[in-house]
């Protein structure tokens, strides 16, 4: 660890605020392209709502397809924030410093993007409001004697996702206060006033810093259980269903959570490599950080693989005809079996083989590819859980169906990736994606120990 050269405060401020205080030419072009893709996706969603779900590939019994897969995927990506920020903060890993803010912000945006999926999936999204309010303070359904299932995981879902979203936003904002103060001191005019408001009069005295450190640890400890619960509850959207045999498995909760961490951390590693390249942050996002992320990913990927094997083994264990039918589709019938092989290869075998080599871990091109493979594989994982299960849901085989996504669905899915990218680039213009004070703290705590002729990097530790 600590391979980089020492940095002073002025250099840190100058280099890490470059994304905010400077306007590179490529930025507006990138936003324009991404914004265009997002607009096309929104138009497709509007077209779909206007014309009805017939324009998608969804049909009985496969009523959940690309949109729900994408929903689960983005919820999964959102788990990286807490994994890196909270767990690494609690375990005092020094290499977390450049990764935490980008991960937390990716969490917020991916959660927001994920929530658009069930919203458009309702077909008539305006009805969502009716659940809460039409007549004064009386929900529509209750007023008309329609009693929904309020014990369903589809009710647990919004409670979990909103809790996680609110907590993540507040966590990011509190951690940003000292950096808002730096921006307050570096800007003039309206920006100065806005940053000043957000900094809330921050001075940087000992009490404020002490509470910041406690905030980091305490909020990390509080948000960790929320993070585990969110994807568990999303998994229970499937796990509670008895009618789809391959879904009713007790292992879904931890399986989905570990999968989320796997895809999320890979996404953050990819984002960090991109940020290093576009903003010239070689001093901050160093090879040692990507190396550490890759080593963490080996553990997470192996954990994920264990849960995957358990899920498949116990799928066959029951030897129930309807579940065997699903597994048959997944493992023996083309093209599902090909997707299955691609998914397992891309999610585990290929990236882990790469990550086992130190030189490949430190090769940023290879790491970027590995992280992309993981996310393609994890997207396929959710798809291969959802669609084959539904395709074989009915007892009578003439009700079995398949699924072919339409162009509308493809456009909307691509639009979500463009949306998250656009939001990340935009926020990089407003807040520093690497926490300034965290980097500066790392420099202060950095020291050395001499053992014989060797000088070993060291850190000061309070506890």
């Amino acid at each position: 660890m600590q391979e980089g050269k020492p940095l002073d405060s002025r250099q840190v401020n100058r280099e890490l605020l470059v994304s905010i205080l400077n306007s590179p030419k490529w930025f507006f072009g990138a936003i324009a392209v991404l914004g265009f893709i997002v607009l096309v996706a929104m138009s497709s969603a509007g077209f779909m709502i206007n014309q009805g779900f017939g324009v998608t590939g969804l049909n009985r019994p496969v009523m959940w397809g690309f949109f729900i897969t994408n929903f689960v995927f983005w919820i999964g990506i959102s788990h990286a924030g807490v994994m890196l920020s909270a767990i690494l903060r609690l375990s005092k890993a020094e290499w977390r410093r450049p990764a935490t803010r980008a991960a937390e912000i990716l969490t917020v945006f991916s959660l927001m993007t994920a929530m658009t999926m069930p919203l458009i999936h309702t077909g008539r999204p305006w009805r969502t409001v009716y659940w809460i309010y039409t007549l004064p303070f009386v929900p529509y359904d209750y007023a008309r004697g329609i009693w929904p299932n309020i014990r369903t995981p589809l009710v647990w879902d919004p409670s979990a996702v909103y809790t996680y979203l609110t907590s993540s936003i507040l966590f990011v904002l509190v951690a940003l206060i000292p950096d808002f103060a730096v921006l307050r001191d570096r800007t003039t005019g309206m920006s100065h006033r806005i940053y000043g408001m957000l900094a809330m009069g921050w001075q940087g005295n000992a009490r404020q810093w002490k509470l910041q450190i406690i905030a980091g640890v305490l909020l990390s400890a509080l948000i960790l259980p929320v993070f585990v619960s969110v994807h568990s509850i999303v998994s229970w959207d499937f796990g509670m269903a008895v009618s789809v045999k391959s879904w009713h498995s007790t292992i879904f909760a931890p399986y989905f959570v570990v999968g989320a961490v796997h895809s999320g951390v890979s996404a953050v590693a990819f984002v960090l490599i991109i940020l290093r390249y576009i903003y010239g942050w070689q001093n901050y996002i160093r090879h040692e950080h990507i190396d550490a992320l890759a080593r963490l990913l080996i553990v997470v990927a192996t954990g994920w693989f264990y849960f995957f094997v358990m899920e498949v083994v116990f799928g066959f264990y029951g030897r129930e005809a309807d579940e065997i039918a699903v597994r048959n589709l997944q493992f023996t019938i083309s093209p599902w079996n090909i997707w299955m092989m691609i998914f397992v290869g891309m999610t585990y075998f290929l990236p882990v083989s790469i990550w086992l080599s130190k030189s490949l871990r430190r090769n940023l091109w290879v790491m970027s590819l590995a992280c992309i493979f993981v996310n393609i594989g994890m997207w396929l994982e959710r798809f291969l859980i959802i669609v084959p299960g539904l395709a074989r849901k009915q007892l009578l085989t003439f009700d079995w169906y398949t699924y072919r996504p339409s162009s509308v669905e493809w456009i909307i899915i691509i639009g979500t990736f463009a949306l998250v990218s656009m939001l990340m680039l935009t926020i990089a213009r407003v807040v520093p994606l690497i926490p300034l004070y965290d980097i500066k703290e790392g420099e202060i705590l950095r020291t050395e120990i001499k053992i014989g002729r060797v000088t070993v990097p060291a850190v000061f530790r309070e506890d």
Partner: protein, 476 residues
């Protein structure tokens, strides 16, 4: 005393100890040779319990033979408990070494020594090979019965599951002892010059050729890493196998993909708990306070808190999936293992594996002490015992005779209470494990000398501006 005064800042006062490498070997030699009165009394008590266990086992075998699994439920439970604790403990050493946690150094050997109890695991497992029912229905397959009961071995390759399970348990024991041996070689090499008697003979034989060259250290490091990874995979696999063969597949219709995970987590929880208890005893009464600082308890207790939360999370995942599903078999399983038959045992399990340790470990000052994590360790050990009784006694008596080959458990059986022989076997199993462990601490140094000395190189007390703090070297 082989250490300077403990140091620490503010609320972390007295957290860190800085052992003196120059006197460590002689100090450890003295401690390993010593047989203080409390220790011999403990050994005697463990030995008596061991003998009672053998009496109980012989009486059970004479009474019921090895034909039916029902009478052996409590034996299965205590085997599982000893297996879980003693196979999981070396994993703590492996895992914390892998994560390069600086605080793990005094804990490593304490954890690795549990691998010697692996021999006991293997011996205890042998009778269970005979009592486990065959996969294939031995009688005529009546209507509504299965020709082959549901197991992870499906149609049952030759020898499955009996031979494979036995080989697996044996393999695990051998691997863990290999890890112990590779880890202890440098210490034995160092102590052989000052040791006498049988210890000197053992040290010479098992460490011969070790001179501490760079090549030897590198080989040892690589060996520990590879064996550690191998042990980890084998352990997880064996947890999956034992929990499936001796629990899940004995309750017809119980299809629970998360149960092997719960089993593994309970094992990890109990292992860490027993390590904390042992380290507390060593620090408080064994004279090891110079080696074991409070920082070790502070850090390990966070891990225990995390594992405890994971335990209840996985339990809830199992419970809510079965509860919500409302299938007949799922409701029967819940009634049997949770709400009706073994309700009191389940409640004790929940309290002692989750509620009580959570309530203890939630508080920073408690986690910063040595007694707090040790108390949590005692609680989780009792909780784990309740877990094993609930699951394995439940499994052994869920479907006697031909009922085992039915597709689902159609009725919820009554609880099976222990008789005197069951009690003897349970306390005997615990006593036997303690007896073997205590004996092993008189042969091999219970603190990993080379690891603690290595840590002393990378750890010192230093000044930053006006404050004094720990300086921790990060050679990687």
């Amino acid at each position: 005393m082989a250490a300077t005064e403990p140091k620490g800042h503010g609320q972390h006062a007295d957290m860190w100890v800085f052992p003196d490498a120059s006197v460590m070997t002689a100090d450890m030699g003295e401690k390993t040779n010593a047989m203080p009165r409390p220790f011999t009394m403990g050994l005697a008590v463990a030995g008596i319990l061991f003998i009672l266990g053998i009496v109980g086992f012989v009486a059970r075998a004479a009474d019921d033979g090895f034909g039916e699994i029902g009478p052996w439920g409590y034996y299965m439970a205590i085997f599982s408990m000893v297996f879980m604790v003693t196979s999981g403990a070396p994993l703590a050493a492996v895992a914390f070494r892998f994560t390069k946690s600086h605080w793990r150094r005094p804990l490593s050997r304490v954890a690795e020594l549990f691998s010697i109890v692996g021999i006991l695991n293997l011996l205890m497992f042998i009778p269970l090979v005979f009592v486990l029912p065959d996969i294939a229905n031995p009688g005529e397959v009546a209507e509504g019965e299965l020709a082959v009961r549901r197991t992870i071995w499906f149609e049952g390759p030759i020898g499955a599951p009996h031979a494979w399970d036995l080989v697996g348990v044996g393999f695990l024991a051998i691997t863990s002892m290999a890890i112990l041996w590779i880890s202890v070689i440098p210490d034995m090499a160092e102590c052989r010059f000052t040791a006498t008697g049988f210890r000197r003979t053992i040290y010479n034989k098992l460490s011969g050729g070790w001179f501490g060259t760079k090549r030897q250290w590198n080989s040892q490091k690589a060996g520990l890493a590879l064996l550690g990874a191998f042990y980890f995979m084998t352990l997880i696999f064996m947890h999956f196998v034992i929990s499936s063969d001796y629990a899940q597949s004995l309750i017809p219709g119980w299809k629970d993909s998360i149960f092997p995970v719960i089993y593994t987590i309970t094992s990890l929880q109990m292992s860490l708990g027993v390590i904390l208890v042992v380290m507390f005893i060593m620090r408080r009464w064994g004279g090891y306070e110079g080696y074991i600082g409070k920082s070790m308890f502070w850090s390990a207790s966070k891990v225990l808190l995390g594992i405890t939360l994971l335990w209840v999370y996985h339990l809830f995942a199992f419970f809510i999936t079965f509860w919500y599903g409302r299938l007949e078999i799922e409701q029967n399983i819940i009634k049997y293992l949770v709400t009706d038959t073994y309700a009191i045992i389940f409640l004790l399990n929940l309290i002692f594996s989750f509620a009580a340790p959570f309530a203890v470990l939630l508080w920073n000052p408690v986690r910063r002490s040595a007694w707090g994590p040790a108390l949590a360790g005692v609680l989780v050990l009792f909780g784990g015992l309740m877990f094993n009784i609930r699951i394995f006694v439940g499994a052994a008596n869920a479907a006697p005779g031909a009922d085992l080959y039915k597709p689902i458990m159609e009725r919820v059986p009554a609880p099976v209470y222990p008789d005197i022989f069951d009690v003897f076997m349970v306390i005997g199993g615990l006593g036997a494990a303690a007896f073997i462990y205590l004996l092993s601490t008189r042969v091999l140094p219970v603190i990993s000398l080379w690891e603690v000395k290595e840590g002393a190189l990378y750890q010192k007390w230093g000044k930053l501006i006006r404050g004094e703090y720990l300086i921790l070297g990060k050679p990687e």
